[in-house]
Symmetry: C2
Subunit: 207 residues, 2 copies
């Protein structure tokens, strides 16, 4: 007897199986979610499935920055209040969301779609690096901020991008590495601590 | 700026909002699930939404036991291998699944749809108790096993059902209360321990 046959309904089994394919959702959670939907109004469940269908079929990537967008150009790239001469390079759309959540950044973005990772078979041509170079070549930016992961792959990608855009003479910066806010010094790893020390800033800047 | 506006896409925001309505799914998890679906093939996502639509629109309750079913009579009630003269009364379809998972029970079920709970405004008429009485009155069962929660509401409902079906002279039992398998005695609460002591069974039965 398979797990599926424990449910007296194939419809139930199918729906649970589909939910259980989602990352981090086991069969128990999947069952709980399906039983929840069974108690909901049909109209509510239609809204749920329609929202998923719509996001999958109709969402696209911004022509300029490759962020997720409902239109040809995303809300950030089409916002005249943003500084379009400041481009922050990130790996994924999740990073855009994380930076937007800080409310500290008023420039625009460029989403690479990942980092260079020979181990995973991801080379520069698999990322939106040509498109970044084109933006820089078109003199769109005064400054390119590299905001990739603090990993070996991130550092490799930073260096590769730097080499590609340096000929255009654009100012290139990377976000600071250091001890995370709220972390105790003694628990920071030595590389982070070393970077934090090397990149120390005048105290007056921090107050 | 609302959380929703952090996403540069209303389609994304809608889908995340719909997932976040599910119990136990916060906005962060919802976002992770939607971004996962965006990476999936369209056909996979169609299977997902179609399975949900189908289970919500086409599933029904078994005419006899009120368990979830794809057909008029559920697989358990239409299985000639089961003992149809042994009816186990449970609160929900989840309880049917839990008991089926033990593979210890060969009878059939009766799903009440909850327990009597004046605090929640649930009275006997909100549950499938008339239908249970009808099954007993029709002499369908030799024994009715009450398998409700070991709570005040469960005990109240047990007693109410007992009063309703006792006139028909059917044998009525309840599942054993006791120390959970794997639990240490000292951590069992006193009521459970008291019931376990009162309902002790000959050791030979347990080996």
């Amino acid at each position: 007897m398979s797990m599926g046959n424990m449910y007296s309904s194939k419809l139930l089994d199918d729906a649970v199986g589909q939910f259980a394919k989602l990352p981090g959702i086991g069969r128990k959670t999947a069952l709980r979610l399906v039983l929840h939907l069974l108690r909901e109004d049909k109209e509510e469940v239609d809204l749920f499935t329609e929202a998923i269908r719509a996001v999958r079929n109709d969402i696209r990537y911004c022509r300029i920055c490759h962020n997720l967008s409902d239109t040809d150009t995303c809300e950030i790239c089409s916002n005249p209040q943003r500084n379009h001469r400041l481009i922050c390079v990130v790996e994924t759309v999740r990073d855009v969301m994380a930076l937007e959540a800080t409310r500290q950044y008023g420039g625009v973005y460029h989403v690479l779609g990942g980092v260079i990772s020979p181990m995973d078979g991801i080379g520069p041509d698999d990322l939106n690096i040509d498109q970044l170079e084109a933006r820089v070549a078109a003199k769109e930016a005064d400054e390119v901020i590299l905001a990739l992961s603090a990993t070996m792959e991130g550092d490799t990608t930073n260096y590769y991008i730097y080499k590609r855009i340096a000929p255009y003479g654009v100012k290139t910066t990377t976000i600071a590495r250091g001890v995370a806010v709220g972390d105790e010094l003694e628990y920071a790893d030595e590389v982070t601590l070393g970077r934090a020390m090397a990149n120390r800033v005048p105290f007056e800047q921090t107050i």
